[in-house]
Amino acid sequence: MALAVALVVTLITLISVGIFVAKVYWFPVDISTHGAAMDHQFLLTLIICGVIFVAAQLGLAYFVWRYRDKGDGRKATYSHGNNKLEATWTIAAAIVFIGLNFLGYNIWAKMHFTGAAPGALKIQVQAQQFAFYFRYPGPDGEFGPTHLEKVDDAIGNFFGLDRAHDQASKDDIVTATLGIPVNRPVELILRSQDVEHSFFVRELRMQQDIVPGMEIPIHFTATEEALKHNGGRYEIVCTQLCGLGHYKMRAFLQVMTEQDYEKWLQTQAAAQ
């Protein structure tokens, strides 16, 4: 029985680690400027945790096998512990765990402690059960106000615009696809019409909840890498439970060259 425990634990450990080491399953391609640092922090954490994982599991397996009761009358070692050892692993664990955390500080700070670069392309994202819609401010660079009573999904007025009366709304462009130019800083302003949603693009290494009653800004820049895969098209998925259609709530991110982007925006403007 002791041997079986040792073997099974060892086997589980090796298979679990092996699949990670062989990268059988891994993050999708990274298309953002900030993603590489995140992936690196993940890898660093994986290595540290991997070492602890293997040491602890194999230690467990070995002890179970080594100290099994063989029926030879051997008595167990009588020990209540060892304070020096306790102190050592407490301090070691504290240094490793908290140190690891501080290594990732900069990545988080860059994402959140500074705003978007000046001149970033501003796009409003509105989430609702169960769709995302996007609004570009148009040439005037201003978003027109939302009038709740004007919101009408059936005729596509998701943002409640009053184009007849509000000057700023006249040139606003509402789309169902998030088109962005490559290499240009983008600032998304996230808002929700009804319940909690979340904005997650795996390839963009970007996830942020969308909270009703709040406008949450996030910023990123898509790299050339984005154009090389899937024709620049990536899924935006909702990751916050929002109701029965949660699993289907998605939209698409379309990364384009600057020229293609301008052309695309013209087409969208014409369809308003």
């Binding site: 399953y25 692993w89 909840d209 009653g213």
Partner: protein, 592 residues
């Protein structure tokens, strides 16, 4: 404090009559069993729900037999609708977390063994004890009744984030009456948990027998004691959150609902000024301590069993108690790690992250000490011991993945994916359940006077141990790929290559689910047909093994024990036997 107490009023006379003896009993042992069986019933309901979910996830077009009988609306012709999937998921989470993980290890085993292990005749407040059980049962019945209302159970998840959970049926099926019942059930559960926690704290502090110094308490008692304190401080907050949510739903208030919402074309003009994030803070202020409420008693039970079957004192008894206290304290400082992407201030996110990494330290200490306990031992690999070894393995696996989620820049890409599902199922769900299995095999002889079948126990262990790894380890890989959780079907293109992994997990879920029938059979068969158990079949040292199996009504038949030793005096050199009972007056050089 450690004085022998005056016998409680009820202690001398065992009540006569079935109802007072077994139903409305004041005896902590009966109440402990009632909690245990409530949790056992709940865990099978929860398990069944998870199997239905795994079935639907990989065969979304399957017509599941009999499911349309349970819910003709949720599963017309047996074909599960997305909303019914979410309802099952919500009920699975709620049942498992509240009525299994919070109930069995603490209220079940704790009720039964805390008084005996400290040398008391009962809990400090037997009537409160009975009340807390019956309130908990009422909570369970209220929750289960939501299966039978017209549009089914709520679908907002066990976390029930508003506004989804607050604005009523316009936001989705199950969000009407079903969600009301859910909130009422949770509020009731909080009341039961609070009464229980008070009782545990008072009992531990006031009813220890002579000689039972705090530093002689078995680690199980320490764990129950700390858990009770954590529960007292956190369930009070959940109660508040639940009441406010209920008021938002039925009272027209706006604690959690902001102005200007349009749900399904309907302008919600009756709400303004609320904050959805406020609810999340309140919920997780309870929610994170809750995972420790689930696992701390498991840690205590595992420590207790590992020491006994290693025939060796627990390694670092003091470090174990201090780390329990540290976890209990720190558990109130880390709730924000559930909210890194929630929209709360990113500066606080970093603070929560540091505290979360810090709570990893006492957890690591415990792991090292368990390994230290095995080191140099003479291991008796009983089923109880196997489950405790399994606990350590699972706790390590699930705990380490927490280090990823604790770092905001790493969490961003893993949040709300199967990585999280794998993490918490291993570390909190399965590990805690392994502690319950361990506790069951270890204490069954004391509770029922008979032994459980070891062969069946070992078959059950192996299938479960291998199975849970096969189910929950792949979830981490899926999470890294970006497989989002809480989806009832996977329609995204990128998910298609990952479906075989889901099938693998589902098949193992069926195997593990089936293996639990072995346990059930073993449990009930042994209750009537098991080999008769002696007073101390495992050669353990704590006080419950000094009394007959099962113990008499007042535990010690009027002879309150006096304690001379720490709880883990195994393999003592120079002692008569391999171990020294806590109440044995035998004098040996006690080393520290």
């Amino acid at each position: 404090m450690a004085e022998a107490h005056a016998p409680t009023a009820h202690a001398q006379h065992a009540p006569q009559g079935f109802i007072r003896k077994y139903i409305f009993s004041l005896d902590h042992k009966v109440i402990g069993k009632q909690y245990y069986f409530l949790a056992l019933f709940s865990v099978f309901v929860g398990l069944l729900l998870s199997i239905l979910m795994r079935w639907h996830l990989v065969w979304p077009d399957a017509h599941i037999p009999l499911l349309d009988k349970l819910s003709p609306v949720g599963a017309p012709g047996g074909l599960m609708t997305p909303e019914y999937y979410l309802s099952l998921m919500t009920m699975h989470g709620t049942i498992m977390i509240f009525f299994v993980l919070t109930t069995a290890p603490q209220s079940g085993f704790g009720n039964y063994f805390l008084p005996i292990q400290i040398g008391a005749e009962d809990m400090a407040f037997p009537r409160l004890n009975m009340l807390s059980f019956w309130v908990t049962l009422a909570a369970l019945l209220t929750l289960l009744s939501s299966f039978f209302v017209s549009d089914g159970p709520p679908l907002a998840g066990w976390t029930a984030y508003p506004p989804l959970s607050a604005v009523g049926s316009v936001s989705g099926p199950g969000e009407g009456l079903g969600q009301d019942l859910w909130v009422i059930s949770i509020a009731l559960f909080c009341v039961g948990a609070l009464l229980g926690a008070l009782n545990f704290i008072a009992t531990t502090l006031e009813l220890r027998t002579r000689g039972m110094k705090l530093m002689r308490l078995p680690l199980t008692c320490w764990a129950w004691f700390i858990t009770a304190i954590v529960g007292l401080l956190s369930f009070a907050v959940l109660f508040a959150a639940g009441v406010l949510l209920l008021l938002d739903r039925v009272g027209g208030t706006s604690f959690f609902v902001p102005a200007g919402l349009i749900v399904s074309d309907k302008i919600l003009s009756n709400h303004s000024g609320g904050s959805p994030l406020l609810y999340q803070h309140l919920f997780w202020f309870f929610g994170h301590p809750e995972v420790y409420i689930a696992i701390l008693p498991g840690m205590g039970i595992t420590s207790h069993i590992l020491s006994c079957f290693s025939r060796k004192p627990i390694f670092g008894y003091r470090a174990m108690t201090y780390s329990l206290m540290a976890i209990g304290f720190l558990s109130f400082t880390v709730w924000g790690h559930h909210m890194f992407v929630s929209g709360m201030s990113p500066y606080t996110a970093f603070a929560f992250s540091v505290m979360t990494m810090a709570i990893g330290v006492p957890s690591a200490i415990k792991t090292f000490n368990w390994l230290g306990t095995l080191w140099g031992g003479r291991l008796r690999l009983t089923t109880a011991m196997l489950f405790s070894i399994g606990f350590v393995s699972l706790f390590v696996s699930g705990g380490l993945s927490g280090l990823f989620l604790a770092q905001p820049p790493v969490d961003v890409n893993l949040h709300a994916t199967y990585f999280v599902v794998g993490h918490f199922h291993l570390v909190m769900g399965v590990a805690a359940i392994f502690a319950m299995f361990g506790g069951t095999f270890y204490w069954f002889p004391k509770m029922f006077g008979r032994m459980m079948n070891e062969t069946l126990g070992k078959i059950h262990f192996w299938l479960t141990f291998v199975g849970v790894y096969a189910i929950f380890m792949p979830m981490h890989y899926l999470g890294v790929e970006g497989n989002v959780r809480r989806y009832s079907t996977f329609i995204d293109d990128f998910m298609q290559p990952l479906l075989p992994v889901h099938k693998f997990m589902s098949i193992w879920a069926f195997i593990v689910g089936g293996a639990q029938l072995i346990f059930i059979f073993n449990l009930f068969w042994s209750m009537f047909k098991g080999e008769k158990a002696g007073i101390n079949p495992w050669e353990s040292t704590s006080l419950e093994w000094t009394v007959p199996s099962p113990p008499p009504h007042d535990n010690f038949a009027g002879k309150i024990p006096v304690v001379y030793h720490g709880p883990y005096e195994y393999g003592v050199p120079g002692a008569e036997k391999d171990y020294i009972m806590q109440d044995s007056p035998e004098v040996v050089a006690e080393s520290h």
